[in-house]
Symmetry: C2
Subunit: 336 residues, 2 copies
DNA sequence: TTGAAAGCGCTAACAA
DNA sequence: TTGTTAGCGCTTTCAA
């Protein structure tokens, strides 16, 4: 890890003290009282030697690394990949960098990742963890005084800031569209551990007079998509809402291999609406999460805490409906 | 960024000097001459106060942060998402962490990302950059003495270590399969800037007596997939090989919307073979890159340089053929 | 057997 | 107007 020139050497070359160089290079206001020629010389030397401050030393002094940790089970699924991208961009916009730790959804690895981030002195952590899901509120072990933590699961519990989607707007728009097109048999395929999506589905089903039909992936051993796809074929709904783009692709690829055509034989809607879902075959109608919005909100809250705001915030970001070819519409006027 | 207890405080509590604590906690061999009871006490205090060494200070002293930078245009495309995952795992296995910088394939952002990684004192950098592609060998501006750099583009040039796939084995297996099934019109859709894939295609076409048909995305304004898909429909091959999973999904979704059935009307093969391609509709036959192997090789080379090996290494990792439903096989015995 | 001191590169407070 | 000093937390001689 050899680096270029240091501030000290620059000071030597300029014949001034390190402090002077530091002041000139960083704090314009305070530098006013230093002669122009000295400043000139320092700036020239700096660019001549391509000086870049050592962030390590800066962090040591300021007790702030400019790194935000991101703990996530897996960034191969399209939703998490996009979220990771957006968090990276949002952090960068604020002059920070993201460090992602991948845990394969293991609680032990999450704890371990957190410890490592803490010892790296990160300025905050964004975490997506099963331990923060609605049914499993293990928030202990996750805190370090002074290091803000924001969870991005559909968590509502005490003492932890959380950012998640509000599925109602997208779901309601979907039900409006589907019922206007005459659909009555509208099912949900999801994981019962994450009830927010189910709750939105249920609320809309009631509101629109649709009876509930649910395929719970938790009912199937090892969450086998073969099993759940078979279950769906045996009791075929007109429209299947899948709880994520990932789930949708797993199920559609299986239904299609079994000879079902999408959307001629069954319409499919996914929740997420990543850019991937738009280049699926067929392109997926989706209840679309506002991933950039989620990323921005998380970092806003994180930096709020860093800047001294200590209230516990939960923020939900509305979803929208994004219509593509995976739903067969009889009544094109109702395409919203 | 408040942290827990420091080594200094631990020393105070134990009534010994920081040096003693450091020796006891880190270097077992040298610690032999310190009384067991002292060691005992130190270890107890450490775990009681949940002591974790401050990596920042360690890095400052050792001049090694344990961070590997990763520069990539985009991690939403499935190949790069998987690569980023595997690099993260491979780095972690070696006690390192990865810091990803996303550049949207902009040369300026790449240079900027590199500068920031350097000032963060990373121990090495893995980079995927257009600037390192075969047609555009801008390797200058990318070096910092003492910080090893490994590129993962299909680059073959002087002075830079590179890791990339060897597409020949997978391509040859594909041509063997296709010709055994009677196919003669086998086309390639790719970007002519990255010639390695084309070269493999060409070599296999010649070897198997197939005449070349190429759809070059560079010929189309703004790489429009609408345009290239139209071109393909106007001069329909029996089999279309797409230069990545991403390209395959873009083209297939468009061909399907135009009424073509895969594989009944046209067989499609992709290059990459990510887990995504297996849950596409239909699951994609692919010339599969060994992504974990690529990640491992990159880090091996990187750590080789860190440990003093200064020869320039180029390593290619063989591809394999992964057969799924996107190719129609008449002769099932030849499914390899 | 243990401790004191210096130093990694930078900055903030205090002197001069 | 500029320089000196101290210190962030850790490790590594060297001295006791």
């Amino acid at each position: 890890m050899a680096n270029g020139i240091t501030l000290g050497k620059l000071a030597e070359l300029a014949g001034v003290s390190p402090a002077t160089v530091s002041i000139v290079l960083n704090r314009r206001p305070l530098a006013k009282r230093i002669p122009d020629k000295t400043q000139e010389k320092i700036h020239q030397l700096a660019s001549k030697h391509n000086y870049h401050p050592n962030q390590l030393a800066k962090a040591m002094k300021s007790q702030s690394t400019g790194i935000i940790g991101f703990i996530c089970g897996d960034i191969n699924m399209p939703y998490y990949a996009e979220l990771c991208s957006e968090l990276t961009f949002a952090a960068e916009k604020r002059g920070y960098n993201l460090m992602a730790m991948l845990t394969q959804w293991s609680y032990e690895k999450e704890i371990n990742a957190l410890e490592r981030l803490f010892s790296r002195m990160v300025d905050g952590v964004i975490i997506i963890s099963n331990a923060f899901s609605e049914h499993n509120k293990r928030t202990d072990n996750f805190r370090r005084p002074g290091v803000p933590l924001v969870t991005m699961t559909d968590f509502k519990g005490p003492g932890v800031c959380a950012v998640f989607s509000n599925y109602l707007p997208g779901m309601d728009a979907l039900f409006t569209l589907l019922t206007a097109n005459g659909y009555r048999r509208i099912a949900l395929a999801d994981y019962s551990d994450y009830p927010l999506k189910y709750e939105a589905y249920k609320a809309c089903a009631i509101k629109h007079g649709i009876s509930e039909q649910r395929f719970d992936a938790r009912n199937y051993p090892e969450h086998s998509f073969d099993e759940i796809s078979r279950g769906i074929r045996l009791d075929l709904p007109e429209v299947l809402i899948c709880s994520s783009d990932y789930v949708a692709t797993q199920i559609i690829s299986r239904l299609a291999l079994a000879g079902l055509r999408i959307p001629e034989d069954i319409s499919v809607v996914s929740i997420d609406g990543t850019q991937w879902s738009e280049s699926y075959n067929p392109p997926l109608t989706a209840i679309k999460q506002d991933i950039p919005g989620l990323a921005e909100a998380s970092l806003d809250i994180l930096f709020g805490i860093i800047n001294g705001n200590h209230e516990i915030i939960e923020k939900s970001i509305p979803t929208t409906l994004s219509v593509h070819k995976s739903v067969k519409l009889f009544n094109p006027e109702f395409t919203i």
